[in-house]
């Protein structure tokens, strides 16, 4: 089950914790993977760890030109593209009343507009090959909202709507488009929390622990697989039960 041998995948934000876990998991299932992100050293380190079957293509998704160039570069490196994981994301948290246009625009540009452009570019080849998997990494706050994250929550909710619209358009071409929405996942940011803050978060997580990148990656592997062919337009929440839909 969930064998990805011969599949060609692009993961954005692969230099981060969740993106790295996704890339490792796709590779472990046999996919050939392009690692993209802004930090070349981190990508090279991950590539070295994974050995063969991976390519490093750095890209800055806040730049329109860089976004436009990424899918063609990935297709050239892999000889096609079957799986696109739009994982790259940024936060610029601020109270709504204090939020600058720039903070709003930066987050929408990377989290939503870049995902739109990459999906538009990728779906062309997927239509030709009559197979494709697009997995957008959302967030629980796209469904619940969160104080201080008006921009981030809007971008992640936008991804859910975009996922559904594109899913409906391309379902007849054996292309699925889904969203994975993580809750609290361990990261350098959660490692910095003190015991009290940690307890306050966990009080709202029925599973009683923070999630790991592996928990998110497993959901991505499933949606990328042939077995998930009949699942499209969905949002799969990976949050230990902290919010249920």
């Amino acid at each position: 089950m969930f064998d990805l041998s011969g599949r060609k995948a692009l993961v954005t934000g692969a230099s981060g914790g969740i993106g790295g876990a996704i890339a490792r998991a796709l590779r472990a299932q046999g996919a050939e993977v392009v690692l993209s992100g802004t930090r070349r050293e981190a990508l090279e380190a991950l590539a070295a760890e994974l050995g063969g079957g991976v390519h490093v293509v750095p890209a800055d998704l806040s730049s329109a030109d860089s976004v436009e160039a990424l899918v063609p570069a990935a297709e050239a490196a892999l000889g096609g593209l079957d799986v696109l994981v739009n994982n790259a994301g940024v936060t610029r948290d601020n109270l709504f009343l204090r939020m600058k246009d720039e903070e709003w625009n930066d987050v929408i540009a990377v989290n939503l507009t870049a995902s739109f452009r990459l999906s538009r570019a990728a779906v062309k080849g997927m239509m030709r090959r009559r197979f494709g998997r697009i997995v957008n990494i959302g967030s629980v706050v796209g469904s619940t909202g969160n104080p201080g994250q008006g921009n981030y929550a809007a971008s992640k909710a936008g991804l859910i709507g975009m996922t559904k619209a594109l899913a409906a358009e391309v379902a007849s071409r054996q292309i699925t488009v889904n969203c994975v929405a993580p809750g609290f996942i361990t990261s350098p940011m959660t490692d910095a929390l003190n015991e009290k803050q940690r307890e306050a978060i966990l009080a709202n997580v029925p599973a009683g622990r923070l999630g790991g990148g592996d928990d998110v990656a497993a959901a991505v592997v499933y949606l990328a697989s042939s077995e998930a062919a009949y699942v499209t337009g969905q949002t799969l929440h990976v949050n230990g039960g902290m919010a249920m839909f």
């Binding site: 062309k124 239509m127 030709r128 358009e169 391309v170 007849s172 071409r173």
Partner: protein, 78 residues
Amino acid sequence: MSDIAERVKKIVVEHLGVDAEKVTENANFIDDLGADSLDTVELVMAFEEEFNVEIPDDAAETIVTVGDAIKFLEKNAA
């Protein structure tokens, strides 16, 4: 019939799975040949590949019949 017209009709027949005699120059992809809007996008992609040309979005929108495609390609294909 020109060589370009032959090649266009062949692509349309193959892509839409319709009888060759239905693929006349006046045939509208959507109304007469049963294409959906995504099929028309795919047809344009297939024309681009076959004739090695780029068909910009605004030109693609004006290609609604088989004859439109032939005319565009006769003018723009090398």
